[in-house]
């Protein structure tokens, strides 16, 4: 089961929680000055550590296709850069704990835990646990004054990044995001609009992350972020409940119209999906009229991405339709099948996400 299909808390405002640590190996140059041979050496080290461990899926990235890699990035298991890179890379996953380790990203190791909804404590614990496991087997680049040494000086210190993806339609509609962003910037917290800065308002999705990683302990960062996320969530919730009847009626109308389009349209572009998603998701929260849930809408958010759709079998078939239109048509079909399957007691008949092709590779990275 993918992380975004699991049961979750705080779904009214939080889409996902991600905690990641960056680590580099002592005695190896960083990415920009690392030869492919040296990169392969690191990959081999990690392959040897994880290959015999139970529960882990080890994937040599060169062994999987471009679409598989892109889909992993779309579903936030890996970064876009990691998916595109051509140097030796390894992906290690333990889906039971939602752990993913990228070997050969900007830093030699990126240890991350991504969880559905709001799960800061759990994600933090799982990431630290994984780091401790690796710490006992590897020598990390570390300095007493600067902490963990990273490729980019912005990550020095704890090299810990905590990010929560939040859905904030009420704050966005009230035009308060800019002020909030500036306010948080002052206390070392970054707010980034997702799915294109220009189309911010489309999905009202934001990534809230800590910026400062030095002079603050891991636990302090966790406490600070959980406090800030809690405050943002409370403000958003308060705004949603303070709508007068007229505004609520208008928002619910928009939500139901959006649901109508999601259920019946023949063509749904990705930008249209984001605005339908936004309206419908807010509708779920302020009224009880919809059969859609934030869980379902969020899993669609990842399922309708181009590469993930293609992997799930929604390929461009031999039609004369322009490529884009065919994709929009596939998207509409996927959305409707997913909603229909979800309606039947929550058990999904149609799998909206690709079956994992990344099996445990028995080949060593050298052979690949």
């Amino acid at each position: 089961m993918f992380w975004y299909e699991k049961k979750a808390e705080g779904k009214d405002v939080c889409v996902s929680t991600r905690v990641r640590l960056a680590r580099n190996l002592k005695d190896f140059p960083f990415k920009a000055r690392l030869t492919d041979e040296k990169a392969a050496e690191i990959v081999n080290k990690l392959f040897d550590i994880y290959n015999d461990q139970e529960n882990y899926t080890v994937t040599t990235m060169q062994d999987i296709g471009r679409i598989d890699a892109e889909s992993l990035a779309e579903r936030h298991y890996i970064s876009r850069d990691f998916a595109k890179s051509t140097s030796p890379r390894l992906l290690v996953r333990d889906d039971s704990r939602d752990i993913a380790i990228m070997v050969g990203e900007e830093d030699h190791l990126r240890i991350q835990c991504i969880k559905n909804g709001y799960a800061l404590e759990e994600a933090f614990r799982a990431t630290m646990e994984e780091e401790a496991f690796l710490d006992s087997r590897l020598d990390f680049a570390f300095s007493e004054s600067l902490g963990y040494l990273t490729h980019c000086p912005t990550n020095l210190g704890t090299a810990l990044r905590i990010s929560v993806m939040m859905h904030l339609p009420a704050l966005t509609a009230a035009g308060r995001m800019e002020a909030l962003t500036q306010q948080l910037q002052k206390i070392g917290v970054t707010v980034r609009g997702l799915y294109g800065e220009g189309s911010r308002a489309d999905a009202a999705l934001y990534q809230i992350s800590n910026q400062v990683t030095m002079g603050i302990t891991e636990e302090e960062t966790l406490r600070k972020m959980s406090k800030i996320i809690g405050q943002i969530a409370d403000t958003e919730r308060a705004m949603r409940t303070s709508y007068d009847e007229e505004t609520s009626e208008k928002l619910l109308d928009r939500a139901q119209r959006s649901e109508g389009i999601l259920r019946t349209a023949r063509l749904v572009s990705s930008s249209e999906f984001l605005s339908l998603y936004n309206a419908a998701r807010l509708g779920c929260m302020i009224g009880n009229t919809s059969s859609l849930t934030p869980e379902l809408l969020d899993s669609l958010l990842f399922a309708v991405m181009p590469a993930t759709m293609e992997l799930a079998g929604y390929r461009d078939t031999a039609t004369t339709l322009p490529k884009e239109m065919q994709r929009d048509k596939n998207r509409a079909v996927l959305i409707q099948k997913t909603i229909a399957a979800y309606g039947k007691g929550g058990t999904k008949k149609t799998r909206s996400t690709p079956s994992d092709k990344e099996r445990k590779s028995k080949k060593t990275p050298d052979e690949a």
Binding site: N24, K26, D27, F28, P29, F30, K31, A32, R33, E106, A132, D135, S136, D139, F140, A141, F142, S143, E144, S145, L146, G147, Y148, L149, T150, H151, C152, P153, T154, L156, G157, T158, L160, G188, V212, T213, M214, G215, I216, T217, E218, E219, E220, R223
Partner: protein
């Protein structure tokens, strides 16, 4: 004969400094006015850097060494090289990233303002690798206790707060 300023090629040189290019030492000489300009432009560019919001952490180094004398024909200052990865300061500036762990020692002085401007400090207080022993353990424990104390006071659990305060004091004395 007195040296002539290498920048303006007119006035006598009064300000001397050493530069290392590709491991080779050479001497530079400037007149009083050019030296003053050098200092001012250095300061100005550094100030500009601190105001910049985009993430190009090493652009400050350019102000120190990069563009200064290039227009007047004086050789580009290339700084020292990192013994592990062979990177120069210019490499770090170009990529905005360190070449390896040793770069942080090699270019410690050059990087200090950058690190401070990003993080506001240069002192790591978080975890350490297990092999080095937990040197920050005491600080971390203190931070935990102070947080617990704050919460106890907030919740008006004064008896617990007093215990926590004593524990903090004892630990601080250690």
């Amino acid at each position: 004969m007195k040296d002539v300023c290498q920048n303006c090629q007119k006035k006598p040189a009064v300000f001397y400094y050493e530069q290392i290019i590709n491991g080779k030492k050479s001497n530079c000489a400037l007149c009083a006015d050019c030296a003053k300009e050098w200092r001012n432009s250095h300061k100005k560019q550094e100030d500009n850097y601190f105001q910049a919001t985009d993430f190009s952490p090493f652009s400050g180094i350019d102000a120190l060494f990069g563009s200064l004398f290039a227009p007047s024909g004086i050789q580009h200052y290339e700084s020292k090289r990192c013994p592990l990865c062979n990177a120069t300061c210019a490499d770090l500036k170009r990529s905005g990233k360190a070449g390896c762990a040793v770069c942080y020692e090699t270019f410690a002085d050059e990087l200090a303002p950058t690190v401070r401007s990003i993080h506001g400090t240069q002192k790591h207080t978080g975890r350490t690798p297990a092999s080095l022993g937990d040197k920050n353990k005491k600080e971390r424990r203190l931070a935990e206790l102070r947080e617990a104390l704050r919460r106890a006071v907030e919740a008006q659990e004064y008896e617990q707060a007093v215990n926590l305060r004593d524990e903090i004091r004892a630990l601080e004395k250690e």
